[in-house]
């Protein structure tokens, strides 16, 4: 009985949200096969952690979306991912590995919205949201004061909101 109820609950989550989560995962890992692997782990984690979900802190989908985003960023940062992307690039056209921003991937989900942002803001959102860099890391890499990084990202995000609403 409990097992049946669990499976029903899981099926509900999966049937309703797997596509949306996969879209988001794909916009970060930019590889459909890897994205499907990540989706598996994401749902396993969702299932393991479901009791820690707190309705006061946000909607269920937001909670799941953040698990998916974090898992995707972990994947992108993993050695296996970097190696597979390196090989792919060398095999394709000898392109510089790690160059994940470019016109070809801008039509994927939230990235499409992001592409409407002005140059620097777009890079900031890409680094923070899609690549998971902290404000401190961005500040160091781009040689911009931390306070400026924060306000610019906040500004970019408010623009993003008006675009998707």
């Amino acid at each position: 009985m409990l097992q049946q109820r669990n499976e029903k609950a899981f099926s509900y989550l999966y049937d309703n949200y797997s596509g949306a989560l996969l879209g988001t995962i794909n916009s970060i890992v930019l590889d459909n096969e890897i994205a499907n692997d990540v989706l598996q782990n994401v749902f396993v984690n969702i299932w393991k952690k479901i009791e820690s979900y707190d309705t006061a802190k946000g909607r269920l989908f937001t909670w799941m979306l953040n698990i998916a985003r974090n898992a995707s960023i972990d994947e992108v940062r993993s050695k296996g991912y970097r190696d597979s992307k390196k090989n792919e690039h060398i095999a394709d056209d000898g392109d510089v590995p790690g160059a994940v921003t470019g016109p070809a991937i801008d039509d994927v989900g939230l990235r499409k919205v992001l592409s409407k942002l002005k140059g620097e803001l777009r890079v900031l959102v890409d680094l923070s949201y899609f690549q998971g860099y902290t404000h401190e890391e961005i500040s160091k890499v781009m040689n911009i004061p931390l306070g400026t990084v924060k306000t610019r990202i906040r500004s970019a995000l408010t623009q993003l909101r008006t675009m998707i609403q």
Binding site: Q3, V44, R59
Partner: protein, 252 residues
């Protein structure tokens, strides 16, 4: 900073997208509790993100769902609990199956026992029948004066076969019916001795014989002399001279 300003700083988006620092998160959660406008702003942006994500859905590869189900069945502590429950269920079914088997076995034993009893009765009857037959056979086989006539089936019934034993000293006649078709209830077999081409009535075969088949040898009338024997199928009660079909015939 008033609430409206706070909302417009981008903290809402930063929080929902998971980009806020731990300190910012704690502050934002407090603000949500205190100010319904902040909470509403959060929910609005969450819904916008959800809608955006839904619109950019990609169907997972087939089989992913089952793979996940397999994984969470192993790793989820809740499912370990259910596994225990399932084990108990299994035991319950096993116990029920055992009871059914036991009941079935008991029934089988009882039916075997009654069958066995029936067989015992049948066996006793057969032994009694056999010992009676043996005595009759001994009467003939132990007697060196007995002559035998094997009567073979005629064209009307080639499978038919019967044997006559004639005691040359006592002139007793015994008939053994090896194989004769069962007569109709208004007919009866009649045994004839043939002497110089003339039939002599030796006796009727009781129709009961064909029903019970208890007697191996049928005692017929005494006869002084005979060269051959034959059986015909006559009207019930028999005839002084044969009128019916001859079934078997054989010389002494």
């Amino acid at each position: 900073m008033n609430v409206k300003e706070y909302i417009s700083t981008g903290i809402v988006e930063s929080y929902v997208l998971g980009l806020a620092s731990e300190e910012e998160r704690r502050e934002f959660e407090k603000m949500c509790e205190q100010y319904p406008e902040v909470l509403q702003a959060r929910i609005n942006f969450e819904l916008a993100m959800e809608k955006q994500a839904m619109e950019n859905s990609i169907s997972p590869m087939p089989g992913i769902k089952n793979k996940i189900l397999e994984k969470i069945n192993i790793s989820n502590p809740a499912s370990i609990q259910t596994a225990k429950v399932r084990n108990l269920n299994w035991l319950k079914y096993a116990a029920a199956a055992c009871l059914l088997l036991l009941a079935g076995s008991l029934y089988w034993n009882i039916s075997l026992y009654s069958k066995n009893q029936q067989l015992k009765v049948d066996y006793d009857n057969t032994v009694a029948k056999l010992s009676g037959m043996e005595k009759e056979v001994q009467l003939i086989t132990n007697n060196p004066n007995v002559k035998m006539a094997s009567m073979k089936g005629m064209e009307v019934s080639p499978q038919s076969f019967a044997t006559v034993y004639w005691d040359t000293t006592s002139h007793d006649v015994y008939l053994m019916v090896n194989n004769l078709p069962k007569p109709a209830s208004d007919k009866q077999y009649q045994l004839w001795a043939l002497l110089d081409g003339k039939p002599i009535d030796v006796g009727l075969i009781d129709n009961e014989y064909f029903i019970k088949e208890t007697r191996l040898l049928i005692k017929a009338k005494n006869i002084q002399n005979a060269q051959a024997f034959a059986i015909t199928l006559e009207t019930k009660g028999g005839n002084p001279t044969p009128k019916g079909t001859m079934y078997v015939m054989g010389n002494l």
